[in-house]
């Protein structure tokens, strides 16, 4: 039988709407419900990680004041905070949450291609979270090896949680990867196979591009983490020596022989660096759509943006060892990895230029999602530029393992993506819930978050310049740090507490708006992309009612010359609006010529 695209077989399919509460909201195979389940779980564990960070900050700002924080628990907080934020919050939220919600809607599909697998994915993800949380309650507690889980310390005496803690951590990661793979295969297949008629790849919204490429990265990178987790479990349980050299521990000889700790680091960062882009690329995509919609202007340099996403994705696999300049690997690698790392700055910088140029000559509506998006550009520029310090191998020498690193990666993969998360939630909240959020409360949330985050992380860079090492329970006195450094630490802690407390405004806003927010108008922002064009808001199971949409133009026909309305949805055919990028007229100056014809 000849291959027929899924979108062209739509009428042959039967659509069974779920009937019971359980199949509708719990064991649901609807990508939108799964998205919200993914998002809910991710935000829940994210809040735990946020709480852990405040406990760490209390110790750093006001050393030895609180008895629940001792060196053992501190390093456990450090580890779990990092791991949860990177993997269980950001990866799950961007791909499982936004990916699930937006891919089928933006591509004009009825659902993911494998709905059952999709459902399985979220439940296996929940299982991985439960295993992770269980490790808080086993004897010895969670692992305290740092989120990088470097051996030998991750499994040898001297580190908290080297018993069940580390094993549960590794098992949880392995289970997470299983969940991610089930979801990830779905996202990739759906984007490639289930787009509606007319939705060519180069017409897709950048959100879909970002999430798609991030998923491809995840599918290629997570296996490296999976094998290293399995190898470490073997080293721990049956005393293989993959990562464990001959060594002593607490004065006793261990039975390991000739393993390589650095091998683990290579495997870890072969996953870990793409992981940065697994978080960043969806954020790049989502923020592009928020910027274009609220600036009422097409995204500038769309093709360049797509190629930049692909280039960054590709390059992200050849830069991993820039995390290892001072790891003791062959120092000659430094030349290669510094070069590739700084090359990746070029497509990344181009994306920043294009966001800013999207604002240029726009008609900028400074609504809450747009404020978050602009703040993202600011923090991302900051975090990107400090990355050039750390990527340039010799500049990394004094800065590696200091607070400069902490400040850099929080700015670039903590603050920036989280600002996009908020931009995206506020932007799509009316669609997802059918309700409007409270604008005033949203603005308060924005200002406290943006300014709070900057006052946490800007000063932290300067602690790094001074040489304050990261992952120190307390600094004590040294001969090179002025006493004022502690003052700086205290001020960072106060800012962090305000920043964390301000997040309650977000939850109040969301829950109040769900409960008694006013009904959102359909397509309230005047967007062009398909998700806003469903017959129902929020979209129902199957998304599109009887007929799948047909796409006639790219996702960014905002303020098309000669049109009264400042947006032209993707479904508007050329017969109605015969101008726009895909219909010959790409600039205002060409309009007259066109009309003369």
């Amino acid at each position: 039988m000849a291959f027929v695209a899924i979108a062209d077989r739509d009428h042959e399919q039967e659509h069974h709407d779920p009937q019971t509460f359980l199949t509708k909201y719990v064991w649901s195979q609807d990508h939108k419900v799964i998205a919200i389940q993914y998002g809910g779980i991710a935000i829940f564990v994210g809040l735990i990680a946020l709480g852990l960070s405040i406990l760490m900050r209390l110790q750093l700002g006001f050393p030895n004041t609180f008895s629940v924080i001792n060196p053992e628990s501190y390093y456990q907080f450090v580890t779990m905070h990092g791991m949860i934020m990177v993997v269980y919050l950001l990866t799950a939220l961007f791909l499982g949450g936004f990916g699930n919600y937006l891919i089928p809607l933006m591509c004009g599909s009825r659902d993911m291609v494998f709905p059952f697998l999709n459902m399985l994915s979220v439940w296996v993800y929940l299982l991985s979270v439960l295993i992770l949380l269980a490790s808080f309650f086993v004897p010895g507690g969670t692992t305290g090896a740092g989120w990088t889980l470097y051996p030998p310390q991750a499994i040898s005496a001297g580190t908290p949680g080297v018993g069940m803690g580390i094993i549960l951590m590794l098992v949880s990661l392995a289970v997470f990867i299983v969940a991610f793979t089930m979801g990830g295969l779905n996202y990739v297949t759906t984007v490639l196979q289930a787009r509606c008629k007319g939705m060519t790849l180069m017409r897709m919204p950048l959100s879909v591009w970002g999430i798609f490429m991030a998923t491809v990265l995840g599918l290629l990178a997570f296996p490296a983490l999976l094998v290293s987790a399995i190898m470490m479990i073997l080293d721990k349980t049956i005393l293989t020596s993959f990562f464990m050299p001959a060594m002593i521990s607490a004065g006793e000889q261990l039975s390991y022989n000739d393993g390589s700790p650095i091998l683990f680091q290579h495997l870890f960062w072969f996953f870990g660096h793409p992981e940065v882009y697994i978080v960043a690329l969806p954020a790049f995509g989502l923020v592009s759509d928020v910027l274009a919609t609220h600036a009422r202007k097409n995204i500038f340099g769309y093709r360049m943006m797509v190629w930049a996403i692909l280039a960054i994705g590709g390059l992200s696999f050849v830069v991993w060892a820039h995390h290892m300049y001072v790891s003791g690997m062959n120092p000659y690698f430094g030349f290669f990895f510094a070069t590739t790392t700084l090359i990746i700055a070029v497509p990344t910088a181009l994306k920043v230029y294009n966001w800013v140029l999207t604002l240029w000559q726009g008609n900028i509506h400074l609504r809450v999602p747009m404020l978050f998006a602009i703040a993202f550009i600011f923090t991302f520029i900051h975090g990107g530029l400090t990355g050039i310090f750390l990527g340039n191998v010799v500049v990394d020498l004094p800065l590696s393992d200091t607070y400069f690193v902490v400040a850099h990666f929080h700015m670039v993969m903590g603050v920036s993506p989280v600002l996009v998360v908020f931009a995206a939630i506020y932007h799509w909240f009316p669609l997802m819930s059918g309700k409007m959020f409270n604008e005033t409360l949203g603005k308060w949330h924005f200002w406290l978050t943006f300014l709070g985050a900057y006052s946490v992380y800007l000063p932290m860079h300067y602690l790094g310049f001074q040489g304050v090492p990261r992952r120190y329970f307390s600094m004590g006195t040294t001969d090179f740090l002025p006493e004022s450094a502690q003052m700086l630490n205290a001020s960072i802690t106060v800012s962090a507490i305000i920043l964390a407390a301000a997040q309650s405004l977000f939850f109040i806003n969301i829950f109040m708006s769900l409960w008694k927010g006013k009904k959102a108008e359909k397509n309230c922002w005047g967007a062009t992309s398909l998700e806003w064009l469903t017959p129902d808001q929020p979209p129902k199971h199957g998304n599109w009612g009887h007929d799948l949409p047909v796409v006639h133009r790219w996702a960014y026909d905002y303020s098309v010359p000669g049109q009264e309305q400042d947006f032209t949805p993707q479904t508007v055919p050329a017969s109605e609006v015969p101008v726009g990028r895909d219909h010959g007229v790409t600039h205002e100056s060409m309009l007259e010529e066109f009309q003369e014809k």
């Binding site: 002593i248 607490a250 510094a338 910088a349 181009l350 800013v356 008609n363 001074q466 004590g476 790409t586």
Partner: protein
């Protein structure tokens, strides 16, 4: 509109903060001024980009903010502009990368005349090895590491016999001599960092890594471990003393070679003179080393010989008992002088080892459950039963004098003990004692140790 103003304010504020804040690089004390130059260059280039893009964005937000009747332009692409931006960015990147790689080229190229020193890391302290007169290091193996052979030296390798072994966390270096540090670890990953030298490198068990620099300023520099190496990571401190070559040579000569350390181990104390020497101690510590509360003297019988030796050396060297508030330490310091040489110390310690080890009377009460929770941290070094671990430099506490333990914890916490710059292990303990918020916590902890 406010967002644009705030962005402008943050840009200006960040630049001002950068220039006026007192928090910046600690002054350089090595040859690596080129690293600082590369950092400065990176600051100027990235600083320009930071200011330019953000101000442009703020300007765009102000100029093109929504207003009735306004409309955005339709401008999907501009190949010329995009090409220019690509070229401009690439030039900026090359301007930072090229000098960086040149300096890195110098870092990977160790000078031939560099002095070779080995740094050996372990949880949570530092030791060092110099190649000795023959200029060559003897063979080592992690498999050979024992209490008696902490460096894992190969006993049969003639080259290693004259290697100088330094078991203190303090390293001396001659000024203006390039030095290549060969980094080893016995157990887990560590990292050798002195902020003023600018260079750092991880220490990896199973392999030798290295870094080189030339110290250019005399002085004492804090040495930090910068790779998370377990719960006492933040206490893994040492020092590098940069001094004139003559002083350095004297320092080298004052440390034992490998063969010296083997001879010392074989030493047999002379029982009679040992008893005579102990008589002075007995006045306060009791005839059986059982301690006397009225004289503020703790029980010393049953305490490990290495710990007694270390403390006696500390008292003699002024590392302990020299703080003005350490009243009882001040009493002990002059008494330690009675042991005028190493042999006397060996003798008296050997004598103490012959005493019966009866548990000291228990006088401190507290909440044992609370103390047990706190002790989880102590156990990493002192052992689950407070039996002490030599490899961690952690003495035995179980069955020892509880009021003494209580007082020492208070002293460590309040900076009365462990503050001498050369008392590295005391400093470690003072880091740890500070997690005990108040006297009740200390009592709870001691009460729990009493149960072990």
């Amino acid at each position: 509109m406010p967002i644009a103003v705030v962005v402008i304010f943050l840009v200006v504020g960040s630049v001002v903060f950068h220039f006026v804040s007192p928090w910046t690089f600690t002054p350089l004390a090595s040859n690596w001024s080129q690293i600082d130059d590369t950092i400065d260059l990176t600051f100027w280039v990235t600083g320009f980009v930071f200011v330019a893009i953000n101000l442009f964005m703020a300007y765009a937000v102000i100029k093109y903010r929504a207003a009735p009747g306004k409309r955005a332009a339709y401008d999907p692409e501009n190949t010329k502009l995009e090409t220019w931006l690509t070229v401009f960015t690439t030039v900026g990147i090359v301007a930072m990368l090229a000098p960086g790689l040149l300096v890195w080229g110098r870092f990977v190229d160790v000078p031939d005349n560099a002095m070779q020193i080995e740094v050996l890391g372990q949880q949570w302290h530092w030791s060092y090895r110099l190649p000795g007169a023959d200029g060559e290091f003897g063979d080592v193996s992690a498999k050979l590491i024992t209490k008696e052979n902490p460096f894992g030296m190969d006993y049969d390798d003639p080259v290693g016999q004259d290697d100088v072994l330094i078991s203190s966390p303090e390293l001396h270096l001659p000024i203006n001599v390039p030095v290549n540090l060969n980094l080893r670890s016995k157990d887990v990953l560590h990292n050798f960092t002195v902020a003023q030298f600018r260079v750092k490198m991880d220490m990896v068990p199973g392999m030798v890594t290295s870094l080189w620099f030339t110290p250019t300023k005399a002085g004492r520099y804090d040495l930090l471990c910068e790779e998370l190496c377990g719960i006492a990571h933040h206490t893994m401190r040492g020092a590098v003393i940069v001094e004139e070559p003559e002083d350095f040579d004297n320092w080298v000569a004052s440390n034992p070679t490998f063969s010296d350390t083997q001879v010392r181990l074989a030493y047999n104390p002379e029982p009679n003179s040992a008893a005579a020497q102990y008589a002075v101690c007995a006045a306060c510590h009791g005839h059986q080393g059982e301690g006397m509360v009225v004289l503020n003297a703790p029980k010393i019988s049953g305490q490990s010989e290495w710990y007694l030796r270390k403390q006696l050396e500390n008292y003699k060297g002024g590392l302990r008992g020299s703080h003005k508030d350490d009243i009882y330490g001040q009493q002990m310091a002059p008494m330690s002088m009675v042991l005028f040489n190493d042999t006397a110390i060996d003798n008296v310690i050997a004598h103490i080892q012959t005493f019966p080890d009866n548990p000291a009377p228990k006088t401190i009460e507290g909440d044992i459950e609370s103390g047990k929770k706190t002790y989880a941290v102590c156990a990493y070094c002192h052992g689950g039963n407070a039996q002490g671990t030599k490899a961690m430099n952690a003495p035995r506490m179980a069955g020892m004098t509880d009021w003494y333990l209580q007082r020492q914890l208070q002293n460590f916490k309040h900076g009365i003990r462990g503050q001498h710059p050369q008392d590295y292990y005391g400093k470690q303990m003072s880091f740890m004692a500070r997690i005990l918020q108040d006297d009740k916590k200390i009592d709870d902890l001691v009460a729990y140790i009493n149960t072990l």
